[in-house]
Amino acid sequence: MSQPVLEIRNLNVDYGLGDKAVHAVRDVSLTLHRGEVLGLAGESGSGKSTLAYGLTRLLPPPGVITGGQVIYHPEGGQPYDVLALTDRKLRQFRWAETAIVFQGAMNSLNPVHKISTQLTDVLRAHEPKMSEHTRGARAREMLKLVGISPDRMDAYPHQLSGGMRQRVMIGMALILQPQVVIMDEPTTALDVVMQRQILGQLIELRERLGFSVIFITHDLSLLVEFSNRIAIMYGGRIVEEAPAATIYRDALHPYSAGLLASFPALRGPKRELAGIPGSPPDLAGMPSGCSFHPRCPKAFDPCPTTIPVLGPPADLNSAGRSVACWLHPALEIS
């Protein structure tokens, strides 16, 4: 496997302080490798966005990072902890190394500035020496890259369609050629045709530019198609992580399996859909033990009491996958 570019270690994120805190992300460790698309799935409220924003300390109050590290490996440099950076350093780090494409593009663009301003703003902040002219040229270039004619430079966000706005955001994310691009449900607001267009484009760009992507969605079938590896989140934890095809064929965690069985297939034989019984957990009153156990059809003794650790399953010999489930207890790493 190729080199890691971003390592998340034991990240914990709370909303609020003290007893009332909601533990939205618990003890998450995850590694993103250079050039790969890492899919992050899980139902609503499982902490996907929180994890993504937590990486670069962008959570709004009352979000607090209560522990963990985010180690960034710059190309040919010494790795460092993003969470430990000073404000100034962090500002420099942002966008230049990791860029984020948010869920709603309309809300991500400042409605009162032209998109050219918003594009060049980044350059002005990160490459102050660049000339006005070069900046403009670069912004135009990016727009062309994402398939928007450069003469739309002077348009305001509201003058663009949803798809175009989302493309502008993607272009903006790539303008500094970052190593990591985080995409939080970049296409949920769009319809399928547009979604496919944009994702197709993104994959192509990734091949050309070589950045890594963390791709968040709850549409598992989309993820399976588009990502290299998939991590499934439930109740603030990662419950399974494996290459996309592996998960699709053979999900180990009952939750992942249930998730996959919830999507009707368009092609192939009509299969019976099982779904997952029960409703998502409340983060404030998380069940003890494996948080999925109240809904799990296969729950047994240890599930309600002990939290399973995420690790390569001991009973199977499939490389590059890990799961947190007592059905497949983790290999003891000693």
Binding site: D191, V192, Q195, G200, E225, L273
Partner: protein, 344 residues
């Protein structure tokens, strides 16, 4: 519920040439001009809801699906066409006739988080639905019955809760229960699961299917997820920019789509079986892969500007529904299937 079991397949609600144009407010300087600008949200839509059947209406965002539902629920006055309830043309605006209509045709909204009033309990919501339609003779029993019907058991646990105390799926069930409170014959479900979590969608859809079978309801299922239409509906209609472009048996439409738009839709749907490597190359029509303006819809076939197999005729002549192949009831409004064209 005591409704006598009507024969399955009986036509309940029918739309004939249903049309809705939302007037665009005229500018002052246009005040003297004759023509009125309007959003052609729905044009000439025909659809039939039968007892014990689910008709799916699919199409991209803004294609007019919700408008069709609201027209059928008589929440909007229609511009043209006809809505027939058991073959009788109806047009109701308010008051008693509306309530009588509502007793037979009920609508379920897309967003269960928004369609229940946060200040009222479940009991209030359901009681109102029952009372308005005079189904409240034995209120407690009726309430229990409703909640049981939508699998919210035991009913006592839910009756005095506020919407916010329920999960999305439970709320949508309450919304369905409310619609059932009127003892309707037809249910118009406008994207009933798109706001729900993946893991609970299925439960709601299964419930709807179950109700259809048990109560012999006619259901219009609106969605943009064509896969769920295949799974859930007996018939599927595809809508594009305010017009129906294809219709037929769900399995046929999804497996052998005829209209280029349906094809595009199906090709675009995520498919886990496809591998990351063989993603289609970037399409040519990137820039205009967007739905057309409905104020000035393209002439002829509304899809022609995006259509890969557009012919000159497409931009001038409005396609008529044409029978496709030999599957009965499968049609598409596309000149590709006009016999002379096919012949040539």
């Amino acid at each position: 519920m005591t409704s006598t079991k009507a024969p399955s397949g009986e036509v309940v609600l029918e739309a004939v040439g249903l049309t809705k144009h939302f007037p665009v407010r005229r500018r002052l300087r246009q005040i003297f001009r004759k023509e009125h600008e309007a959003v052609h949200a729905v044009d000439d839509v025909n659809l039939t809801l039968r007892r014990g059947q689910v008709v799916a209406l699919v199409g991209e965002s803004g294609s007019g699906k919700s408008t069709v539902a609201r027209l059928l629920a008589q929440l909007y006055p229609r511009t043209d066409g006809d809505i027939r309830l058991h073959g009788v043309s109806t047009r109701v605006k308010g008051g008693r006739p509306f309530r009588e209509y509502a007793a037979r045709v009920q609508m379920i909204f897309q967003d269960p988080f928004a369609s229940l009033n946060p200040v009222h309990t479940i009991r209030y919501h359901l009681t109102r639905a029952l009372k308005i339609h005079g189904n409240a003779e034995n209120l407690d029993a009726a309430l229990h019955d409703l909640l049981t019907r939508v699998s919210l058991t035991p009913p006592e646990r839910y009756l005095d809760k506020f919407p916010h105390e329920l999960s999305g799926g439970q709320r949508q069930r309450v919304a369905i229960a409310r619609a059932l409170g009127a003892r309707p014959e037809a249910l118009l479900a406008d994207e009933p699961v798109s706001m729900l979590d993946v893991s609970i969608r299925l439960g709601v859809l299964n419930l709807l299917r179950d109700l259809k079978e048990r109560l012999n309801l006619a259901i219009l299922y609106i969605t943009h997820d064509i896969a769920s239409a295949r799974y859930f509906a007996d018939q599927t209609l595809v809508m594009y920019a305010g017009r129906m472009v294809e219709g037929g048996d769900s399995e046929t439409v999804t497996q052998t789509p005829a209209h280029p738009y349906t094809k595009l839709l199906i090709d675009s749907a995520p498919d886990p079986d496809r591998l990351i490597a063989d993603i289609d190359p970037l399409e040519e029509d990137r820039g205009n892969g967007e739905p057309p303006s409905l104020i000035r819809p393209p002439s002829g076939c509304r899809f022609h500007p995006r259509c890969p197999s557009a012919m000159p005729r497409c931009s001038t002549d409005l396609p008529v529904p044409l029978q496709i192949g030999d599957t009965p009831g499968h049609w598409a409004a596309c000149w590709l299937y006009d016999s002379p064209e096919v012949a040539s």
